[in-house]
């Protein structure tokens, strides 16, 4: 199925199990996609038949400013809520990564992948 997606949206947010993660904040990175048929928008060159991804980016940026919670699972749930509020109950998927998890000796990324309404990874 067609989809519209955004990769590597970087967000500074106060999320984490450790006190200093919630107090000081840290970087997260989000990839997300919403699946829909883009044929009509593509043929007519008409944005109104597609989705405006800029509003989703702004909504997630605004969310990252307000959120303060323990888990990236909960953070991702709130992201899906925002996307669903904007676009309705469409197949959607996201991957939320913590850019620098506070685990000694570990320099990789930790992430969760979530989907709703049958959404699948676009990556």
């Amino acid at each position: 199925m067609d989809c519209i997606g955004v990769r590597e949206l970087r967000l500074w947010a106060h999320v984490g199990v450790l006190d200093h993660e919630r107090r000081d904040g840290q970087w997260f990175s989000v990839d997300f996609s919403v699946q829909l048929d883009l044929t009509a928008a593509a043929v007519a060159d008409d944005l109104s038949r597609s989705l405006d991804y800029s509003v989703a980016i702004q909504a997630l940026q605004a969310l990252s400013h307000k959120v303060c919670c323990l888990t990236i699972e909960h953070f991702s749930e709130q992201m899906l809520d925002r996307l669903e509020t904007l676009y309705g109950p469409m197949p959607m998927w996201l991957r939320l990564s913590k850019c620098a998890a506070p685990v000694p000796g570990f320099n990789g990324r930790v992430f969760v992948e979530r989907s709703r309404h049958g959404g699948t990874s676009a990556l």
């Binding site: 970087r10 967000l11 500074w12 107090r23 000081d24 904040g25 940026q61 990252s64 400013h65 850019c99």
Partner: protein
């Protein structure tokens, strides 16, 4: 490696103040320290807060690593104490003072020192500011820039919210808080921090 950035918040604020600036900077690989400096309602003397700032910096970046420093409002004076009196100037590349009462503020003139020692440190002509101003060479070697809002009522008069050395720039916003919230201000500060 990118030079780490230290952000120092001001009176009645927390590091969350810098959320928009950090987001706008968009430098996930740049080491960042925005410590919380609890200051009561303004009763903790600024030198004591500068000492806590020093502990945070030493703990995170060690004793020698070079840093850039930005202080907003009272945070700019705390940062200046760290630079001038705690050896920070020797390891700091750039210091941005944003809406900071480096020459004092009329808004603090009537505050009672016995109750609000920290806030009273920002009175015009306070002993702290006089001592800092007597060391004009203490910031030599640091690239200093002061940003101010002409209509600032917290740091009043706004155009005196500048360091005695370095460049200064007026940011065209209307209030003290807009210096850290308005898109024009954030753009200006981000550009300076990225340079």
């Amino acid at each position: 490696m990118t030079i780490p950035l230290v952000l120092v918040h001001g009176l009645w604020d927390t590091p969350r103040l810098f959320h928009r600036l950090i987001q706008g900077l968009d430098q996930p690989k740049r080491p960042l320290l925005a410590p919380h400096l609890p200051h009561g309602l303004g009763w903790v003397p600024l030198r004591q807060l500068a000492s806590r700032l020093d502990q945070h910096i030493q703990q995170r970046f060690g004793a020698d690593m070079r840093v850039d420093l930005l202080g907003f409002s009272m945070g700019g004076v705390i940062g200046r104490i760290w630079l001038q009196e705690l050896g920070g100037a020797q390891r700091t590349r750039r210091f941005l003072s944003v809406g900071s009462p480096q020459q004092g503020t009329l808004a603090a003139q009537l505050l009672p020192r016995p109750l609000l020692a920290g806030a009273a440190d920002m009175k015009m002509g306070s002993r702290l500011l006089r001592q800092l101003n007597r060391q004009p060479d203490a910031l030599a070697g640091v690239d200093c820039c002061s940003f101010f809002c002409r209509w600032d009522l917290m740091v009043c008069p706004g155009w005196r919210a500048v360091l005695p050395v370095g460049r200064y720039e007026e940011i065209p916003v209307w209030t003290h808080q807009q210096l850290m919230k308005h898109p024009v201000a954030l753009q200006r500060l981000s550009s300076s921090l990225r340079a």
